[in-house]
């Protein structure tokens, strides 16, 4: 289970904006506003929990003129768990609009 800190929530929210779109580190730093020293430990924890998958970019460094990047994307389990966790925290997950008749999460917010 991932402990939901504010940086974790920011990373999950950023990834949930487009769950199928892979993101690299600088991209996530820009989206979340987190410094690298905070972001990478969060990514490490999410990967260890199985919420996140990381893949190397399939690119020829010589042809591209740059080294290959590592891209992160939420796994299927990660998407479900992140949506659930954010809903429980009453943080509206980007891309998820409340439907008519939806009942809010029970219990007090975690912060």
């Amino acid at each position: 289970m991932v402990r939901l800190t504010i940086p974790v929530v920011k990373v999950l929210s950023a990834l949930l904006t487009a769950p199928d779109e892979p993101r690299y580190g600088l991209d996530l730093m820009r989206l979340t506003g987190l410094p690298s020293g905070t972001l990478y430990p969060v990514l490490h924890r999410l990967r260890a929990a199985g919420w996140l998958a990381a893949d190397w970019e399939d690119v020829d460094p010589v042809a591209a003129g740059r080294p290959a990047r590592r891209y992160y994307r939420l796994t299927g389990d990660g998407i479900r768990a992140a949506r659930l966790a954010l809903a429980e925290l009453r943080v509206p997950a980007p891309g998820q609009r409340p439907r008519a008749g939806d009942v809010g999460p029970a219990g007090a917010p975690a912060w």
Binding site: Y24, G25, L26, M29, P35, S36, G37, T38, Y40, P41, H44, R45, A48, A49, R66, P67, A68, R69, R70
Partner: protein, 322 residues
């Protein structure tokens, strides 16, 4: 160019703070990000990126980060109870010394000569037994870096010493204030000794860790005794009547700790018998306290630094039938 080299240096530092299994991939990933920043000419961003990673908290494996509540309580219990237990060892050894002295008084002409060796021997023995018990408990305590471990060991000793000195001062015992600088020096020097022992044990150099820890603790105790004696007894003083002067020559200062433990000059001309009397009259309980606490302090630092035992391998997964 300089910025990029500095950033690369910071990244090399940062990558060492991660679990060994992740280092190669993270180094490659961060180098790619750094390349991206360099390509767009964002020098400060490069430095910020690398410095933030280098300054962030060391990352341990997720398994290590989960600290069961019971383990926290056990750690606190071990570290808080060990100093009073050391004190109890000292008192028990002193009681043994008194009983031995009474028994020997009618059987040995110089029974007083064995008082301090008996006290020190008993304290050392009980101190070692305490260390064995602490090491057993340390197998199930929280594992933290070497410096917090050293502080976690030494601060409860300091608290125990403060309580004892406070109670002694409250009872109006003489010379309590003069004891404080020596005890403080001992505590201050014990921290680096225990820290170094823990750091070396972490690198797998257990034998060196023991050596450095024990020698460092001896130096700390020796310096503390020397400070107390130097502050209380002058180096020279006029002789009164036929008695030797109430002074202690500084030349034998490194031996004073061992003199307090053994009441001996080890065959050397200094300290003289009179100097030994002056030294042990002024400082005798503190060296025993140092002796009671040193074994477990070093032992805990070394034991707590050992890697946790690998879990027993579970059954191998069996392929599902096709």
């Amino acid at each position: 160019m300089v910025t990029r080299r500095l950033a690369a240096l910071l990244l090399r530092t940062a990558v060492r703070r991660w679990p060994a299994a992740s280092r190669a991939e993270l180094g490659r990933e961060w180098a790619a990000e750094l390349h991206e920043l360099a390509r767009s000419g964002r020098r400060w961003a490069m430095l910020r990126f690398a410095a933030s990673l280098a300054a962030s908290r060391a990352v341990t494996s997720p398994v290590d980060r989960v600290v069961p509540r019971g383990r926290l309580w056990r750690t606190a219990g071990v570290l808080l109870l060990a100093p009073p237990a050391g004190l109890a060892a000292l008192v028990l050894a002193a009681t043994t010394m008194n009983l031995t002295d009474e028994w020997l008084a009618f059987r040995l002409s110089r029974a007083t000569a064995v008082q301090l060796p008996v006290w020190a021997g008993g304290t050392a023995l009980l101190g070692v037994l305490l260390a064995v018990a602490v090491v057993r408990c340390a197998r199930r305590t929280v594992r933290v870096p070497a410096l917090p471990t050293a502080l976690g060991v030494v601060l409860p000793i300091a608290a125990t010493a403060a309580v004892v000195l406070g109670l002694s001062a409250g009872r109006g015992e003489r010379g309590v204030a003069a004891t404080v600088p020596g005890v403080l020096l001992w505590l201050a020097l014990l921290v680096p000794a225990v820290w170094a022992a823990g750091a070396l044990a972490r690198r797998g150099r257990t034998r060196t860790a023991w050596l450095v820890g024990v020698l460092g603790a001896l130096v700390a105790a020796d310096a503390a005794v020397a400070l107390t004696v130097v502050a209380a007894i002058p180096a020279t003083a006029p002789a009164v009547a036929d008695l030797p002067p109430d002074a202690v020559d500084r030349v034998s200062a490194p031996l004073w700790l061992f003199t307090c433990w053994t009441d001996s000059s080890f065959g050397l001309p200094r300290p003289t018998a009179w100097e030994r009397f002056l030294i042990t009259d002024r400082v005798v309980v503190e060296p025993m306290f140092y002796l009671a606490c040193t074994p477990y302090a070093v032992a805990y630092a070394v034991a707590a630094a050992r890697p946790p035992r690998a879990p027993a391998p579970g059954p191998q997964p069996v392929a599902a039938p096709v």
